[in-house]
Amino acid sequence: MSDPPRDDERELVARAQRDPRQFGALYDRHFQQIYRFVYSRVREQTAAEDVTSEIFMKALKAMPRYQDTGRPFAAWLYQIAVNAIADRYRTLRPTQPLEDFHDLSVAGPALEDLAAHRDEIRRIWGLVEALPTQQRTALVLKFQEDMKIEDIAVAMGKSPGAVKLLIHRGVSRLREEADALRPVE
């Protein structure tokens, strides 16, 4: 027995594979998250639009070859997105400042704590951006896009074990970098 949202998605995918004109439903469903992911990587609206267009156009054309591996359809879209971003920015890095994070903490901290917390978050994410591409992608998909490791594996074309290793190495490197940046008390 599979979960209902997945059943619903399978129906949409099956329809789009049978009739490309049905792809619009998948576009409506996934546009926002893919665009958000792309924008977070390229940090420029026009570039995000270009890459997002490329991703969905590639997805539409590749629909007949799509195979349901049991993972969400979004994982496949992220795979196309990761590759598209890599192709476009193979030699470039985002240059915009990292100022657009929202705190998801439930409890309301004191203002000074909150400011410190946000500062630390900004600093850590700044370090993420400096990580090697593979580690950076794995961390973004895990911590920003909230994806499961198996889905990240699909998106990155790696095994789940390799993704775990990338995450581990990435976070370990963050700790090292953070320690190095931490002011001496």
Partner: protein, 734 residues
């Protein structure tokens, strides 16, 4: 500071500081990036254009024909034909050639479908003497007429009864005694021949081919965006019972509700929601959240949580009772707690899809196949072929819609296909209208495929009717929309449907299309036309030139049954010289739900031109109307026409006569009983000719519903309905 804990990372980030960093990263989300909505919609248009280019199967023929370019060509062609016809007609008119020759002409000459409400026009190529010309006019069948002249050379011959007789071949002869205004005689008689239409416009019958788009613009009203969704998580929109509110799951998994007319979106449950289902009474809303069932009671605004094991994956209502699906099968809430209704297959990838509205069946998918389960017996039936997709239920739950390829199929609960519709996102309303939405347009159609009407161009994905059968919700872009659709035209009556079958059957025979004609026969009908002595295709001279339905009536239900008397006219040269009648019994096939001809019998040939002929019979429970092709001598009618019951006893009042129509009133015909209409040979036309021979017609009392329909005016009034069957006579064939 609260951190989000992700168990998946426990074995990846085992070090406490690493875990803290992971939780720190998880505790943040980027703000929504700047987004130009024009980009979102523009990209969607590009994708859809690409999708159309990629689409392998071309649109069906009717879509192509009725697409704007196709329609333009059809219109242009029709226009050219009309223009060519007019040109040819006038080109063939005598040019006069001098006044030594007298020509007559009429636009009606040779026509086989002359309207009844018009005079007979006879044009001469020179001014005529009114008195001698009028005296020279002969009309068959016998008809009282008056004359009117236009410009001395065009004579309008007007039946005094007002209209021409239906289904009748007229011969209007101007005899040799007619003279011109200068006294020149016609010398030889000249005749105009034409055939009139049936007594009323053809009843609105479902055409096997869809109608063209009625209007290029939208027929919808009140179309508006209800709520932005930021994408679509599920197409499972639920309407409140009063059709005022829609509930949906947004892209974040939150269950939300909003007034259909628009307003603030209210959150019912903040996240993780699937399978929302509103109770038929509209008082409760059930949904699944975190594997548990939650039930919101609107009146008190409280939500009850029902923990079920195993976890629920689909929830629905049967009347006021909750039902759900879990990994081990289908369950319901019994008096003593959950009760398993049926188990689901234990092999393959199984997913439940939907409960029927009446709760008697459920649809589930096993691997690539779709199954319909009878919950009373737990017996499953596959519907469609592999890869079939579920598309919805009929409001009663007695039929299910599934799609395969470019076609929607309607199946009964036994898995038998009962009809097909063009492929699209479908929703079946309480008024038996099916919305067919797609990326590019919206159609409305009856479940039997009739009355297909294009409602609008544009994106109308996953339309969902409101309970009132007027409003509907749909998805466009990343938002939920609503609109109201116009009502479909009235549902065709059984007579509409059966007469369409009979007309198609007879037309195929007239064209010599044996295979097409045989397609309207079931086994009984085929036997009648093979070993039963009837000929499916009629050959020889005189030839089978036309037919018309003399009488028709619904004679039974379960199965729906109608009896038709069809008159087949045989023509030699241009003149109708004989006719005979076939009595056809049309029934609704239990499997296909289509009407087919089940029985057929033929009557004897009769020669025409020898007295008045019956050309139409209308039967109602309280009266019978018999239409003749000739004006009759009224005093011969009262004693010349009677209605007898099965015991030979006369029933009803004495026959009365007016305008070629004889009425026998004061009847109380019993449904299904047999009666006999007798037209004695003593009945005379206005020229003093007797009916050639006694004409007997067996009639069946109309079924009760038809009677009610007629009284209420629901059935397209006479002259269509009637029910006679000719007196059984030896079967003959031409």
């Amino acid at each position: 500071m609260n951190m989000r804990h992700d168990p998946e990372l426990d074995d990846v980030l085992q070090d406490q500081e690493l875990r803290r960093l992971g939780e720190l990263l998880s505790s943040t989300r980027r703000a929504e990036p700047p987004l130009d909505e024009a980009f979102r919609s523009g990209l969607r248009r590009q994708l859809m254009q690409q999708a159309w280019n990629m689409s392998e199967g071309r649109p069906s023929l009717w879509r192509r024909v009725f697409a704007p370019p196709g329609l333009a060509w059809v219109g242009a062609t029709a226009g050219l034909v009309l223009i060519a016809g007019v040109v040819v007609f006038w080109a063939l008119q005598p040019t006069g050639g001098g006044f030594n020759q007298i020509y007559i002409n009429s636009p009606m000459d040779g026509s086989n479908a002359v309207a009844l409400q018009q005079p007979i026009l006879v044009a001469f190529n020179q001014p005529m003497n009114h008195l001698t010309t009028e005296a020279a006019v002969q009309i068959a069948p016998a008809t009282n007429v008056t004359f009117t002249w236009q410009l001395n050379n065009t004579l309008a011959v007007q039946p005094t009864s007002g209209n021409l007789a239906p289904n009748t071949q007229y011969q209007v002869t101007i005899g040799p005694t007619a003279t011109t205004a200068t006294g020149q005689p016609l010398n030889t008689a000249q005749t105009i021949t034409f055939v009139t239409q049936p007594p009323a416009p053809p009843p609105p019958s479902p055409s096997p081919t869809p109608r063209a788009p009625v209007s290029p613009s939208s027929l919808l009203t009140g179309e508006h965006q209800v709520a932005p969704l930021g994408g679509i998580a599920s197409s499972a929109v639920q309407w409140s019972a009063d059709s005022s509110t829609v509930y949906f799951v947004n892209s974040s998994g939150a269950l939300e509700g909003v007034l259909a007319k628009g307003g603030d979106v209210k959150v019912v449950a903040p996240d993780g929601v699937s399978s929302p289902a509103i109770a038929p009474a509209g008082d409760r809303l059930a949904y699944i959240r975190g594997g548990k069932i939650e039930v919101l009671t609107f009146a008190v605004g409280t939500t009850a949580e029902i923990a079920v094991t195993p976890a629920a994956t689909l929830v629905g209502w049967v009347k006021d009772k909750l039902e759900w699906v879990a990994v081990d099968g289908l369950h319901t809430q019994g008096a003593n707690g959950p009760t398993q209704l049926a188990a689901l297959p234990a092999t393959g990838i199984v997913s439940a899809v939907s409960f029927a509205p009446d709760g008697t069946h459920a649809v589930y998918r096993q691997d690539l196949k779709l199954f319909l389960m009878d919950l009373a017996t737990a017996k499953s039936t596959q519907i469609g072929q592999a890869n079939a997709l579920f598309d919805g239920w009929s409001p009663s739950g007695a039929q299910v819609i599934y799609s395969s390829g470019d076609t929607l199929t309607i199946s009964d609960v036994h898995g038998r296909s009962v009809g097909t519709l063009p492929g699209a996102d479908a929703s079946w309303s309480s008024q038996d209208a099916v919305l067919l939405g797609s990326e590019t347009d919206l159609y409305q159609v009856r479940p039997d495929g009739s009355a297909l009407t294009k409602l609008a161009n544009g994106t109308y994905r996953s339309p969902m009717w409101a309970p009132n059968g007027t409003a509907f919700a749909f998805f466009r872009g990343g938002a939920l929309w609503a609109a109201s659709a116009p009502s479909l035209p009235p549902v065709p009556t059984t007579l509409d449907l059966t007469s369409a079958v009979v007309n198609s059957f007879m037309t195929a025979r007239q064209k010599g299309q044996t295979d097409q004609a045989a397609a309207f026969l079931d086994d009984g009908g085929k036997q009648a036309y093979s070993s039963g002595g009837l000929n499916l295709v009629i050959t020889g001279d005189p030839h089978f030139s036309r037919f018309y339905i003399l009488a028709q009536t619904v004679t039974g239900f379960q199965p729906d049954t109608a009896t038709f008397v069809v008159r087949l006219v045989l023509t030699h040269g241009k003149l109708d010289v004989a006719d005979f009648e076939e009595t056809l019994t049309v029934i609704r096939d239990a499997t296909t739900r289509r009407f087919v001809i089940d029985q057929a019998a033929a009557g004897a040939h009769r020669d025409l031109g020898k007295g008045a002929e019956v050309v139409g019979v209308v039967v109602a429970a309280d009266r019978i109307q018999v239409m003749f092709d000739s004006d009759l001598k009224a005093d011969t009618v009262t004693a010349g026409m009677v209605l007898l019951d099965s015991k030979g006893q006369q029933v009803g009042d004495a026959a009365t006569y007016t305008n070629r129509t004889v009425t026998i009133g004061g009847l109380k015909l019993k449904p299904g009983d047999t009666y006999k209409l007798v037209v004695l040979s003593t009945v005379q036309d206005v020229n003093g000719h007797n009916v050639a021979a006694e004409y007997d017609l067996s009639l069946v009392g109309p079924a009760a519903t038809l009677e009610a329909d007629l009284k209420s005016g629901a059935v397209a009034a006479p002259p269509a309905p009637a029910s006679p069957t000719p007196t059984p006579t030896p079967t003959t064939s031409s």
